[in-house]
Protein backbone atom coordinates (compact mmCIF):
# COMPACT_ATOMS: atom_id res chain seq x y z
CA UNK A 1 0.00 0.00 0.00
CA UNK A 2 1.41 3.35 -1.01
CA UNK A 3 1.27 6.03 1.64
CA UNK A 4 -0.61 9.20 0.91
CA UNK A 5 1.18 12.55 0.73
CA UNK A 6 0.42 15.23 3.28
CA UNK A 7 -0.34 18.67 1.86
CA UNK A 8 0.46 21.23 4.56
CA UNK A 9 -0.58 24.29 2.64
CA UNK A 10 -3.33 22.47 0.86
CA UNK A 11 -1.67 23.44 -2.40
CA UNK A 12 -1.99 20.03 -3.98
CA UNK A 13 -5.72 19.66 -4.43
CA UNK A 14 -5.34 16.42 -6.38
CA UNK A 15 -3.53 14.80 -3.49
CA UNK A 16 -6.33 15.80 -1.12
CA UNK A 17 -8.88 14.39 -3.57
CA UNK A 18 -7.02 11.10 -3.66
CA UNK A 19 -6.96 11.01 0.16
CA UNK A 20 -10.74 11.53 0.19
CA UNK A 21 -11.24 8.76 -2.35
CA UNK A 22 -9.14 6.39 -0.27
CA UNK A 23 -11.11 7.33 2.85
CA UNK A 24 -14.35 6.39 1.05
CA UNK A 25 -12.88 3.08 -0.11
CA UNK A 26 -11.85 2.18 3.43
CA UNK A 27 -15.24 3.25 4.83
CA UNK A 28 -17.07 0.99 2.39
CA UNK A 29 -14.63 -1.87 2.85
CA UNK A 30 -14.83 -1.68 6.64
CA UNK A 31 -18.61 -1.50 6.84
CA UNK A 32 -18.97 -4.22 4.25
CA UNK A 33 -16.64 -6.52 6.17
CA UNK A 34 -17.79 -6.03 9.74
CA UNK A 35 -21.46 -5.51 8.73
CA UNK A 36 -22.06 -2.56 11.04
CA UNK A 37 -21.46 1.17 10.88
CA UNK A 38 -22.89 4.44 9.63
CA UNK A 39 -22.31 4.64 5.88
CA UNK A 40 -24.15 7.78 4.75
CA UNK A 41 -22.60 10.30 7.10
CA UNK A 42 -19.13 8.75 6.85
CA UNK A 43 -19.18 9.26 3.07
CA UNK A 44 -20.54 12.81 3.19
CA UNK A 45 -17.78 13.95 5.57
CA UNK A 46 -14.88 12.30 3.70
CA UNK A 47 -13.72 15.33 1.71
CA UNK A 48 -13.74 17.60 4.75
CA UNK A 49 -11.82 15.05 6.81
CA UNK A 50 -9.25 14.64 4.05
CA UNK A 51 -8.77 18.41 3.83
CA UNK A 52 -8.37 18.63 7.60
CA UNK A 53 -6.09 15.68 8.31
CA UNK A 54 -4.03 15.75 5.10
CA UNK A 55 -4.03 19.53 4.81
CA UNK A 56 -5.03 22.13 7.34
CA UNK A 57 -4.37 20.46 10.67
CA UNK A 58 -1.00 20.65 12.43
CA UNK A 59 -0.63 17.15 13.79
CA UNK A 60 2.06 14.51 14.31
CA UNK A 61 0.67 11.00 13.90
CA UNK A 62 3.76 9.57 15.61
CA UNK A 63 3.16 11.91 18.55
CA UNK A 64 -0.62 11.83 19.03
CA UNK A 65 -0.31 13.62 22.37
CA UNK A 66 1.92 16.46 21.11
CA UNK A 67 0.66 19.33 23.31
CA UNK A 68 0.57 21.96 20.60
CA UNK A 69 -1.27 19.86 18.03
CA UNK A 70 -4.49 21.12 16.53
CA UNK A 71 -7.51 19.44 18.10
CA UNK A 72 -10.48 17.79 16.41
CA UNK A 73 -13.73 16.53 17.87
CA UNK A 74 -16.17 14.49 15.80
CA UNK A 75 -19.35 15.94 17.24
CA UNK A 76 -21.34 13.70 14.86
CA UNK A 77 -19.65 10.74 16.52
CA UNK A 78 -21.77 8.10 14.80
CA UNK A 79 -19.78 8.73 11.61
CA UNK A 80 -16.75 7.24 13.37
CA UNK A 81 -15.82 4.95 10.48
CA UNK A 82 -15.03 7.98 8.35
CA UNK A 83 -12.73 9.35 11.05
CA UNK A 84 -11.07 5.99 11.69
CA UNK A 85 -10.38 5.55 7.96
CA UNK A 86 -8.85 9.04 7.90
CA UNK A 87 -6.66 8.45 10.95
CA UNK A 88 -5.48 5.09 9.61
CA UNK A 89 -4.59 6.47 6.19
CA UNK A 90 -2.83 9.40 7.86
CA UNK A 91 -0.65 6.96 9.75
CA UNK A 92 -2.09 6.93 13.27
CA UNK A 93 -2.59 3.16 13.13
CA UNK A 94 -2.42 0.36 10.54
CA UNK A 95 -5.14 0.40 7.89
CA UNK A 96 -5.76 -3.32 8.52
CA UNK A 97 -6.94 -2.47 12.03
CA UNK A 98 -10.04 -0.85 10.52
CA UNK A 99 -11.51 -4.33 10.20
CA UNK A 100 -11.63 -4.64 13.99
CA UNK A 101 -14.25 -1.87 14.09
CA UNK A 102 -16.84 -2.50 16.82
CA UNK A 103 -15.47 -5.99 17.55
CA UNK A 104 -14.58 -7.21 21.04
CA UNK A 105 -11.46 -5.51 22.46
CA UNK A 106 -11.09 -3.13 19.52
CA UNK A 107 -9.58 0.32 19.83
CA UNK A 108 -12.12 1.35 17.21
CA UNK A 109 -15.26 1.43 19.34
CA UNK A 110 -18.65 2.01 17.72
CA UNK A 111 -18.36 5.66 18.68
CA UNK A 112 -14.99 7.40 19.20
CA UNK A 113 -13.46 6.50 22.57
CA UNK A 114 -10.42 8.61 23.45
CA UNK A 115 -9.42 6.20 26.22
CA UNK A 116 -8.79 3.49 23.64
CA UNK A 117 -7.33 5.09 20.53
CA UNK A 118 -4.48 7.61 20.48
CA UNK A 119 -5.31 10.32 17.96
CA UNK A 120 -8.84 10.83 19.22
CA UNK A 121 -9.00 14.12 21.09
CA UNK A 122 -12.48 13.49 22.55
CA UNK A 123 -15.02 10.72 23.14
CA UNK A 124 -18.30 11.44 21.38
CA UNK A 125 -21.45 9.68 20.16
CA UNK A 126 -24.27 11.40 21.95
CA UNK A 127 -25.09 14.21 19.55
CA UNK A 128 -24.64 17.87 20.39
CA UNK A 129 -21.67 17.45 22.72
CA UNK A 130 -18.47 17.44 20.67
CA UNK A 131 -18.78 21.13 19.94
CA UNK A 132 -18.94 21.93 23.67
CA UNK A 133 -15.72 20.02 24.21
CA UNK A 134 -14.20 21.90 21.26
CA UNK A 135 -15.13 25.20 22.91
CA UNK A 136 -13.38 23.96 26.04
CA UNK A 137 -10.26 23.08 24.06
CA UNK A 138 -10.22 26.48 22.37
CA UNK A 139 -10.57 28.23 25.72
CA UNK A 140 -7.84 26.02 27.19
CA UNK A 141 -5.48 26.79 24.30
CA UNK A 142 -6.02 30.48 24.79
CA UNK A 143 -5.44 30.33 28.56
CA UNK A 144 -2.35 28.17 28.08
CA UNK A 145 -0.97 30.46 25.38
CA UNK A 146 -0.85 27.53 22.94
CA UNK A 147 -0.96 28.08 19.16
CA UNK A 148 -3.28 25.07 18.84
CA UNK A 149 -6.44 25.50 16.79
CA UNK A 150 -9.61 23.50 17.35
CA UNK A 151 -11.86 21.97 14.70
CA UNK A 152 -15.17 20.24 15.22
CA UNK A 153 -17.46 18.53 12.73
CA UNK A 154 -21.23 18.52 13.27
CA UNK A 155 -24.17 16.98 11.45
CA UNK A 156 -26.97 19.19 10.19
CA UNK A 157 -29.49 17.05 12.09
CA UNK A 158 -27.24 17.39 15.12
CA UNK A 159 -27.71 21.16 14.96
CA UNK A 160 -31.22 20.54 16.28
CA UNK A 161 -29.72 19.84 19.71
CA UNK A 162 -30.07 22.85 21.98
CA UNK A 163 -26.63 22.28 23.46
CA UNK A 164 -25.06 23.09 20.07
CA UNK A 165 -26.40 26.60 20.42
CA UNK A 166 -25.30 26.88 24.04
CA UNK A 167 -21.78 26.13 22.81
CA UNK A 168 -22.14 28.56 19.89
CA UNK A 169 -23.19 31.31 22.28
CA UNK A 170 -20.22 30.86 24.60
CA UNK A 171 -17.73 30.58 21.72
CA UNK A 172 -18.74 33.91 20.27
CA UNK A 173 -18.96 35.51 23.71
CA UNK A 174 -15.30 34.58 24.30
CA UNK A 175 -14.34 35.49 20.73
CA UNK A 176 -12.76 32.11 20.10
CA UNK A 177 -11.34 32.85 16.69
CA UNK A 178 -9.14 29.76 16.72
CA UNK A 179 -12.23 27.58 16.76
CA UNK A 180 -13.70 26.26 13.52
CA UNK A 181 -17.01 24.39 13.41
CA UNK A 182 -17.81 22.61 10.17
CA UNK A 183 -21.37 21.48 9.54
CA UNK A 184 -21.73 18.48 7.23
CA UNK A 185 -24.90 19.82 5.63
CA UNK A 186 -26.01 16.66 3.83
CA UNK A 187 -29.73 17.51 4.06
CA UNK A 188 -30.69 14.29 5.82
CA UNK A 189 -30.77 13.03 9.39
CA UNK A 190 -31.73 9.50 10.50
CA UNK A 191 -35.52 9.67 10.06
CA UNK A 192 -36.70 13.27 10.21
CA UNK A 193 -39.90 14.65 8.76
CA UNK A 194 -41.95 12.97 6.11
CA UNK A 195 -41.88 14.48 2.65
CA UNK A 196 -44.47 13.77 0.01
CA UNK A 197 -44.10 9.98 0.03
CA UNK A 198 -42.97 7.73 2.85
CA UNK A 199 -39.61 7.15 1.19
CA UNK A 200 -39.06 10.86 0.95
CA UNK A 201 -37.76 12.72 4.00
CA UNK A 202 -37.36 16.47 4.42
CA UNK A 203 -34.01 18.11 5.20
CA UNK A 204 -33.26 18.90 8.87
CA UNK A 205 -33.21 22.63 8.13
CA UNK A 206 -34.77 24.95 5.58
CA UNK A 207 -32.40 26.23 2.85
CA UNK A 208 -30.23 29.02 4.22
CA UNK A 209 -31.30 28.38 7.79
CA UNK A 210 -27.90 27.21 9.03
CA UNK A 211 -26.09 30.22 7.59
CA UNK A 212 -28.45 32.67 9.22
CA UNK A 213 -28.47 30.85 12.57
CA UNK A 214 -24.67 30.64 12.91
CA UNK A 215 -24.40 34.29 11.83
CA UNK A 216 -27.03 35.31 14.36
CA UNK A 217 -24.99 33.57 17.06
CA UNK A 218 -22.02 35.79 16.23
CA UNK A 219 -19.95 33.42 14.09
CA UNK A 220 -18.20 34.25 10.84
CA UNK A 221 -19.89 31.94 8.34
CA UNK A 222 -18.48 30.48 5.13
CA UNK A 223 -20.75 28.45 2.89
CA UNK A 224 -19.12 26.03 0.48
CA UNK A 225 -19.58 22.92 -1.63
CA UNK A 226 -18.33 20.29 0.79
CA UNK A 227 -17.28 17.99 -2.04
CA UNK A 228 -15.25 20.60 -3.93
CA UNK A 229 -11.74 20.14 -2.56
CA UNK A 230 -10.50 23.56 -3.70
CA UNK A 231 -13.38 25.26 -1.93
CA UNK A 232 -12.83 23.24 1.25
CA UNK A 233 -9.12 24.01 1.31
CA UNK A 234 -9.76 27.71 0.71
CA UNK A 235 -12.38 27.85 3.42
CA UNK A 236 -10.09 26.16 5.94
CA UNK A 237 -7.29 28.56 5.03
CA UNK A 238 -9.61 31.50 5.57
CA UNK A 239 -11.05 30.03 8.76
CA UNK A 240 -7.61 29.63 10.33
CA UNK A 241 -6.40 33.09 9.35
CA UNK A 242 -8.09 34.92 12.24
CA UNK A 243 -9.29 37.72 9.99
CA UNK A 244 -11.41 38.96 12.89
CA UNK A 245 -12.21 37.90 16.43
CA UNK A 246 -15.17 35.63 15.65
CA UNK A 247 -15.23 31.83 15.69
CA UNK A 248 -15.81 30.43 12.21
CA UNK A 249 -18.59 28.16 10.99
CA UNK A 250 -18.17 26.44 7.64
CA UNK A 251 -21.46 25.24 6.22
CA UNK A 252 -20.35 22.47 3.88
CA UNK A 253 -23.10 21.52 1.45
CA UNK A 254 -22.75 17.79 0.97
CA UNK A 255 -24.62 14.70 -0.17
CA UNK A 256 -25.33 11.88 2.24
CA UNK A 257 -23.80 8.68 0.86
CA UNK A 258 -21.58 10.70 -1.53
CA UNK A 259 -19.73 8.55 -4.01
CA UNK A 260 -22.15 5.62 -4.20
CA UNK A 261 -24.86 6.39 -6.75
CA UNK A 262 -27.35 4.02 -5.13
CA UNK A 263 -26.87 5.53 -1.65
CA UNK A 264 -26.67 9.24 -2.42
CA UNK A 265 -29.52 11.19 -0.87
CA UNK A 266 -31.21 8.04 0.47
CA UNK A 267 -32.08 8.37 4.15
CA UNK A 268 -32.09 4.63 4.71
CA UNK A 269 -28.36 4.55 3.90
CA UNK A 270 -27.75 6.27 7.25
CA UNK A 271 -26.93 2.79 8.59
CA UNK A 272 -27.47 0.37 5.73
CA UNK A 273 -25.03 -2.45 4.92
CA UNK A 274 -24.20 -3.17 1.26
CA UNK A 275 -25.13 -6.37 -0.52
CA UNK A 276 -22.31 -8.12 -2.42
CA UNK A 277 -23.52 -6.53 -5.68
CA UNK A 278 -23.70 -3.10 -4.07
CA UNK A 279 -20.21 -3.56 -2.67
CA UNK A 280 -18.82 -4.41 -6.09
CA UNK A 281 -20.60 -1.45 -7.63
CA UNK A 282 -19.35 0.83 -4.84
CA UNK A 283 -15.73 -0.17 -5.40
CA UNK A 284 -16.10 0.38 -9.14
CA UNK A 285 -17.68 3.78 -8.66
CA UNK A 286 -14.94 4.78 -6.24
CA UNK A 287 -12.37 3.84 -8.86
CA UNK A 288 -10.82 1.13 -6.74
CA UNK A 289 -9.31 -1.36 -9.20
CA UNK A 290 -10.87 -4.79 -8.84
CA UNK A 291 -7.43 -6.46 -9.02
CA UNK A 292 -6.16 -4.45 -6.08
CA UNK A 293 -9.31 -5.51 -4.29
CA UNK A 294 -8.67 -9.18 -4.96
CA UNK A 295 -4.99 -8.83 -4.11
CA UNK A 296 -5.65 -7.61 -0.58
Amino acid sequence: MTSLPVVPDAGDIDALREAARRIRVEVVRTINTVRVGHMGGSLSEADVLAALYFGAMRIRPDQPHWPERDRFTLSKGHASVGLYATLALRGFFPVEELLTFDQADTRLQGHPDMTRLPGLDMSTGSLGMGISAAVGMALAARLAGSPSRTFTLLGDGECQEGSVWEAAMVASRYRLNRLVAIVDHNKLQQFGWQGTGHEDRLPPEEPGELVSKWSAFGWRVLEIDGHDMAQIADALASATSQTDDRPVAIIANTIKGKGLSFAEGQYLWHVKIPTPAEFAQAMAELGEPVDAEAAR
Binding site: V36, G37, G77, H78, D102, Q103, A104, D105, T106, L108, Q109, G110, H111, D113, S123, T124, G125, S126, L127, G128, G157, E158, Q160, E161, G162, Q189, Q190, F191, G192, W193, Q194, H198, P204, L268, H270, V271
Partner: protein, 317 residues
Protein backbone atom coordinates in the same frame (compact mmCIF):
# COMPACT_ATOMS: atom_id res chain seq x y z
CA UNK B 1 -34.04 -26.92 26.28
CA UNK B 2 -33.65 -23.17 25.77
CA UNK B 3 -36.71 -20.99 25.39
CA UNK B 4 -37.94 -20.25 21.86
CA UNK B 5 -37.39 -16.89 20.21
CA UNK B 6 -40.22 -14.38 20.25
CA UNK B 7 -40.62 -11.17 18.28
CA UNK B 8 -38.64 -7.98 18.70
CA UNK B 9 -40.04 -5.77 21.46
CA UNK B 10 -39.71 -2.69 19.27
CA UNK B 11 -42.04 -4.16 16.64
CA UNK B 12 -44.58 -4.78 19.39
CA UNK B 13 -44.08 -1.21 20.58
CA UNK B 14 -44.82 0.27 17.15
CA UNK B 15 -47.84 -1.96 16.61
CA UNK B 16 -49.32 -1.63 20.09
CA UNK B 17 -49.16 2.14 20.29
CA UNK B 18 -50.60 2.32 16.77
CA UNK B 19 -53.49 0.08 17.83
CA UNK B 20 -54.08 2.17 20.95
CA UNK B 21 -54.25 5.30 18.81
CA UNK B 22 -56.88 3.67 16.58
CA UNK B 23 -59.38 3.95 19.41
CA UNK B 24 -57.91 6.62 21.68
CA UNK B 25 -57.59 10.09 20.14
CA UNK B 26 -55.37 11.26 23.02
CA UNK B 27 -52.48 9.06 21.88
CA UNK B 28 -49.62 10.87 20.13
CA UNK B 29 -46.10 9.69 19.27
CA UNK B 30 -43.16 12.02 19.79
CA UNK B 31 -39.99 10.84 18.02
CA UNK B 32 -36.39 11.91 18.57
CA UNK B 33 -35.30 11.15 14.99
CA UNK B 34 -35.08 7.42 15.63
CA UNK B 35 -38.43 6.16 14.33
CA UNK B 36 -36.70 3.78 11.92
CA UNK B 37 -34.87 2.15 14.82
CA UNK B 38 -37.62 2.21 17.47
CA UNK B 39 -40.28 1.20 14.90
CA UNK B 40 -42.32 4.31 15.66
CA UNK B 41 -42.38 4.45 11.85
CA UNK B 42 -45.26 1.97 12.05
CA UNK B 43 -47.22 4.64 13.92
CA UNK B 44 -46.23 7.32 11.43
CA UNK B 45 -47.64 5.29 8.55
CA UNK B 46 -50.95 4.72 10.35
CA UNK B 47 -51.44 8.07 12.07
CA UNK B 48 -49.22 10.63 10.31
CA UNK B 49 -51.06 13.60 11.85
CA UNK B 50 -50.39 12.34 15.37
CA UNK B 51 -46.76 11.43 14.70
CA UNK B 52 -44.76 14.42 15.86
CA UNK B 53 -41.12 14.53 14.82
CA UNK B 54 -39.24 16.47 17.49
CA UNK B 55 -35.86 16.18 15.77
CA UNK B 56 -32.61 15.42 17.56
CA UNK B 57 -33.52 17.49 20.61
CA UNK B 58 -34.50 15.22 23.48
CA UNK B 59 -34.67 17.78 26.26
CA UNK B 60 -37.21 19.77 24.33
CA UNK B 61 -39.08 16.61 23.33
CA UNK B 62 -39.76 15.64 26.95
CA UNK B 63 -40.82 19.19 27.73
CA UNK B 64 -43.21 19.23 24.77
CA UNK B 65 -44.62 15.91 25.96
CA UNK B 66 -45.30 17.44 29.36
CA UNK B 67 -47.16 20.33 27.77
CA UNK B 68 -49.27 18.02 25.64
CA UNK B 69 -50.04 15.80 28.63
CA UNK B 70 -51.10 18.86 30.63
CA UNK B 71 -53.47 19.63 27.75
CA UNK B 72 -55.14 16.21 27.76
CA UNK B 73 -53.02 14.21 25.32
CA UNK B 74 -51.16 11.00 26.05
CA UNK B 75 -47.66 11.31 24.53
CA UNK B 76 -45.53 8.23 23.88
CA UNK B 77 -41.81 8.93 23.57
CA UNK B 78 -39.80 7.16 20.87
CA UNK B 79 -36.03 7.21 21.27
CA UNK B 80 -33.21 5.11 22.70
CA UNK B 81 -32.98 4.64 26.46
CA UNK B 82 -29.72 6.59 26.27
CA UNK B 83 -31.51 9.68 25.02
CA UNK B 84 -34.85 9.09 26.75
CA UNK B 85 -33.51 9.05 30.29
CA UNK B 86 -30.23 10.76 30.94
CA UNK B 87 -30.18 13.56 28.35
CA UNK B 88 -33.60 15.02 29.28
CA UNK B 89 -33.48 14.00 32.94
CA UNK B 90 -34.17 17.42 34.39
CA UNK B 91 -37.17 17.88 32.10
CA UNK B 92 -38.44 14.48 33.22
CA UNK B 93 -37.95 15.39 36.86
CA UNK B 94 -39.48 18.86 36.88
CA UNK B 95 -42.00 18.75 34.04
CA UNK B 96 -43.20 15.14 34.12
CA UNK B 97 -42.52 13.33 37.41
CA UNK B 98 -43.14 16.20 39.83
CA UNK B 99 -46.50 17.20 38.29
CA UNK B 100 -47.24 13.47 37.68
CA UNK B 101 -48.15 14.01 34.05
CA UNK B 102 -49.42 11.35 31.72
CA UNK B 103 -46.29 10.77 29.62
CA UNK B 104 -45.18 7.28 28.52
CA UNK B 105 -41.43 7.10 28.07
CA UNK B 106 -40.78 3.94 26.05
CA UNK B 107 -37.02 3.69 25.72
CA UNK B 108 -35.66 1.34 23.11
CA UNK B 109 -32.17 -0.24 23.05
CA UNK B 110 -31.96 -0.88 26.80
CA UNK B 111 -29.05 -2.88 28.15
CA UNK B 112 -25.99 -3.98 26.21
CA UNK B 113 -27.39 -4.75 22.75
CA UNK B 114 -27.32 -1.46 20.90
CA UNK B 115 -26.12 -2.58 17.48
CA UNK B 116 -22.69 -1.20 16.62
CA UNK B 117 -22.64 1.65 19.03
CA UNK B 118 -20.73 0.82 22.19
CA UNK B 119 -20.71 2.58 25.52
CA UNK B 120 -22.29 5.88 24.51
CA UNK B 121 -25.49 4.04 23.69
CA UNK B 122 -25.39 1.53 26.55
CA UNK B 123 -26.99 3.11 29.59
CA UNK B 124 -26.06 0.91 32.51
CA UNK B 125 -28.04 2.73 35.18
CA UNK B 126 -31.43 3.68 33.73
CA UNK B 127 -33.30 1.48 36.21
CA UNK B 128 -31.40 3.00 39.13
CA UNK B 129 -32.22 6.50 37.94
CA UNK B 130 -35.84 6.00 37.02
CA UNK B 131 -36.88 3.92 40.00
CA UNK B 132 -35.36 6.54 42.31
CA UNK B 133 -37.53 9.20 40.66
CA UNK B 134 -40.69 9.76 42.72
CA UNK B 135 -43.91 9.07 40.75
CA UNK B 136 -42.17 7.18 37.96
CA UNK B 137 -43.49 3.66 37.33
CA UNK B 138 -40.55 1.65 35.98
CA UNK B 139 -41.07 -1.52 33.94
CA UNK B 140 -38.56 -3.86 32.30
CA UNK B 141 -40.44 -6.54 30.32
CA UNK B 142 -38.95 -9.95 29.61
CA UNK B 143 -40.30 -10.59 26.14
CA UNK B 144 -42.65 -9.47 23.38
CA UNK B 145 -45.79 -10.80 25.12
CA UNK B 146 -45.09 -8.89 28.31
CA UNK B 147 -44.07 -5.79 26.34
CA UNK B 148 -47.45 -5.52 24.62
CA UNK B 149 -49.30 -5.97 27.88
CA UNK B 150 -47.14 -3.51 29.79
CA UNK B 151 -47.70 -0.84 27.12
CA UNK B 152 -51.45 -1.41 27.28
CA UNK B 153 -51.32 -1.20 31.07
CA UNK B 154 -49.40 2.07 30.82
CA UNK B 155 -52.03 3.55 28.51
CA UNK B 156 -54.76 2.66 30.98
CA UNK B 157 -52.84 4.26 33.86
CA UNK B 158 -52.92 8.01 34.40
CA UNK B 159 -49.36 9.14 35.16
CA UNK B 160 -45.71 8.89 34.12
CA UNK B 161 -44.45 5.46 33.09
CA UNK B 162 -41.01 4.36 31.94
CA UNK B 163 -40.77 1.10 29.99
CA UNK B 164 -37.38 -0.12 28.79
CA UNK B 165 -37.26 -2.33 25.72
CA UNK B 166 -34.33 -4.18 24.19
CA UNK B 167 -33.34 -3.88 20.56
CA UNK B 168 -32.90 -7.45 19.39
CA UNK B 169 -35.35 -10.32 19.24
CA UNK B 170 -35.63 -11.91 22.67
CA UNK B 171 -36.48 -15.39 23.84
CA UNK B 172 -40.15 -15.81 24.62
CA UNK B 173 -40.88 -16.48 28.28
CA UNK B 174 -44.67 -16.13 28.37
CA UNK B 175 -47.53 -17.54 26.35
CA UNK B 176 -50.78 -15.82 25.45
CA UNK B 177 -52.38 -16.88 28.72
CA UNK B 178 -50.00 -14.59 30.61
CA UNK B 179 -51.58 -11.61 32.35
CA UNK B 180 -49.19 -8.79 33.31
CA UNK B 181 -49.96 -7.29 36.73
CA UNK B 182 -47.94 -4.17 37.48
CA UNK B 183 -47.94 -4.92 41.21
CA UNK B 184 -46.71 -8.50 40.91
CA UNK B 185 -43.51 -10.36 40.30
CA UNK B 186 -43.83 -13.76 38.65
CA UNK B 187 -42.47 -17.13 39.80
CA UNK B 188 -41.36 -18.69 36.52
CA UNK B 189 -39.80 -21.82 38.02
CA UNK B 190 -40.13 -23.50 41.41
CA UNK B 191 -37.02 -24.68 43.23
CA UNK B 192 -35.43 -25.29 46.62
CA UNK B 193 -31.67 -24.60 46.62
CA UNK B 194 -31.28 -20.99 45.54
CA UNK B 195 -33.54 -18.15 44.39
CA UNK B 196 -32.61 -16.42 41.14
CA UNK B 197 -34.26 -13.02 40.71
CA UNK B 198 -34.11 -11.30 37.35
CA UNK B 199 -35.69 -8.62 35.20
CA UNK B 200 -36.03 -7.67 31.54
CA UNK B 201 -34.67 -9.81 28.74
CA UNK B 202 -32.19 -11.33 31.17
CA UNK B 203 -34.97 -13.45 32.69
CA UNK B 204 -35.22 -15.91 29.77
CA UNK B 205 -31.45 -16.41 29.99
CA UNK B 206 -31.77 -17.02 33.73
CA UNK B 207 -34.48 -19.61 33.06
CA UNK B 208 -32.02 -21.34 30.74
CA UNK B 209 -29.35 -21.07 33.43
CA UNK B 210 -31.72 -22.76 35.90
CA UNK B 211 -32.13 -25.57 33.39
CA UNK B 212 -28.33 -25.94 33.12
CA UNK B 213 -28.03 -25.94 36.92
CA UNK B 214 -30.77 -28.57 37.23
CA UNK B 215 -28.57 -30.93 35.21
CA UNK B 216 -25.92 -30.73 37.91
CA UNK B 217 -28.43 -31.15 40.68
CA UNK B 218 -29.05 -27.56 41.72
CA UNK B 219 -32.72 -26.69 42.08
CA UNK B 220 -33.38 -23.01 41.32
CA UNK B 221 -36.41 -20.97 42.26
CA UNK B 222 -36.71 -18.26 39.58
CA UNK B 223 -38.54 -14.98 40.12
CA UNK B 224 -39.11 -12.49 37.31
CA UNK B 225 -39.55 -8.87 38.45
CA UNK B 226 -40.95 -6.87 35.53
CA UNK B 227 -41.86 -3.83 37.61
CA UNK B 228 -38.97 -2.17 39.41
CA UNK B 229 -41.33 0.40 40.83
CA UNK B 230 -43.68 -0.13 42.54
CA UNK B 231 -41.69 -3.11 43.75
CA UNK B 232 -43.44 -6.35 44.77
CA UNK B 233 -41.90 -6.51 48.25
CA UNK B 234 -44.02 -9.45 49.43
CA UNK B 235 -43.21 -11.47 46.30
CA UNK B 236 -39.47 -10.87 46.65
CA UNK B 237 -39.43 -11.73 50.35
CA UNK B 238 -41.45 -14.90 49.75
CA UNK B 239 -39.14 -16.00 46.94
CA UNK B 240 -36.06 -15.34 49.07
CA UNK B 241 -37.48 -17.25 52.02
CA UNK B 242 -38.20 -20.21 49.78
CA UNK B 243 -34.47 -21.08 49.64
CA UNK B 244 -32.67 -18.65 51.96
CA UNK B 245 -30.14 -17.75 49.27
CA UNK B 246 -30.60 -15.13 46.56
CA UNK B 247 -28.76 -14.31 43.33
CA UNK B 248 -29.98 -11.30 41.36
CA UNK B 249 -29.19 -11.13 37.64
CA UNK B 250 -29.61 -8.08 35.42
CA UNK B 251 -28.32 -6.66 32.14
CA UNK B 252 -27.65 -3.43 34.02
CA UNK B 253 -25.44 -2.07 36.77
CA UNK B 254 -25.74 -3.88 40.09
CA UNK B 255 -25.75 -0.47 41.77
CA UNK B 256 -29.26 0.78 42.28
CA UNK B 257 -30.83 -1.57 39.77
CA UNK B 258 -32.64 -4.81 40.45
CA UNK B 259 -29.83 -6.05 42.68
CA UNK B 260 -29.90 -2.83 44.64
CA UNK B 261 -33.69 -2.94 44.92
CA UNK B 262 -33.70 -6.55 46.13
CA UNK B 263 -30.89 -5.85 48.62
CA UNK B 264 -32.79 -2.88 50.03
CA UNK B 265 -35.94 -4.94 50.32
CA UNK B 266 -34.39 -7.98 51.94
CA UNK B 267 -32.14 -5.89 54.18
CA UNK B 268 -35.20 -4.24 55.62
CA UNK B 269 -37.70 -7.10 55.63
CA UNK B 270 -35.83 -10.39 55.65
CA UNK B 271 -32.03 -10.28 55.64
CA UNK B 272 -30.80 -12.99 53.26
CA UNK B 273 -27.37 -13.91 51.92
CA UNK B 274 -27.20 -12.69 48.35
CA UNK B 275 -25.04 -12.15 45.31
CA UNK B 276 -25.65 -9.50 42.63
CA UNK B 277 -24.77 -10.39 39.03
CA UNK B 278 -24.71 -7.70 36.38
CA UNK B 279 -22.38 -4.87 35.38
CA UNK B 280 -19.97 -4.40 38.27
CA UNK B 281 -19.66 -0.60 38.30
CA UNK B 282 -18.42 -0.39 34.72
CA UNK B 283 -19.54 1.06 31.39
CA UNK B 284 -20.33 -1.06 28.36
CA UNK B 285 -18.28 -1.41 25.17
CA UNK B 286 -18.37 -2.53 21.56
CA UNK B 287 -18.63 -6.26 20.85
CA UNK B 288 -21.05 -8.81 19.44
CA UNK B 289 -24.05 -9.69 21.60
CA UNK B 290 -22.59 -13.09 22.47
CA UNK B 291 -19.24 -11.55 23.41
CA UNK B 292 -20.95 -8.92 25.56
CA UNK B 293 -23.01 -11.48 27.47
CA UNK B 294 -19.94 -13.59 28.04
CA UNK B 295 -17.77 -10.67 29.06
CA UNK B 296 -20.25 -9.30 31.57
CA UNK B 297 -21.18 -12.74 32.90
CA UNK B 298 -24.77 -12.65 31.70
CA UNK B 299 -25.01 -15.59 29.29
CA UNK B 300 -26.88 -18.62 30.64
CA UNK B 301 -23.64 -20.55 31.02
CA UNK B 302 -21.86 -17.75 32.80
CA UNK B 303 -24.81 -17.19 35.13
CA UNK B 304 -24.92 -20.91 35.94
CA UNK B 305 -21.17 -20.86 36.64
CA UNK B 306 -21.43 -17.92 38.99
CA UNK B 307 -24.41 -19.37 40.83
CA UNK B 308 -22.46 -22.59 41.34
CA UNK B 309 -19.48 -20.63 42.65
CA UNK B 310 -21.71 -18.68 45.02
CA UNK B 311 -23.28 -21.87 46.39
CA UNK B 312 -19.84 -23.44 46.85
CA UNK B 313 -18.64 -20.36 48.68
CA UNK B 314 -21.69 -20.42 50.98
CA UNK B 315 -21.21 -24.16 51.63
CA UNK B 316 -17.62 -23.56 52.78
CA UNK B 317 -18.70 -21.12 55.48
Amino acid sequence: MTLPMGRAMREVFGETVTALADTDPRVVMLDGDLGTSTRAEIFERAHPERFLQMGIAEQNMLGVAAGMAASGFMPFISTFVAFAVVRPLDQIRVLIAQPKLNVKIIGSYAGLFVGAAGKTHQIVDDISIMRAMPNMVTISPADDVETGQAIRWAAAYDGPVYIRLVRDVTQRLFDDAYAFDVAKSVVVREGTDVTLISTGAETPRVVDAAEILAQTGTSCHVLHVPTLKPLDVAGIVAAANKTGLVVTVEEHSIIGGLGGAVAETLGEHSPTAMKRLGLQDTFGESASNADLLDRFGLSSNRVAEQVTAFLAQRARR
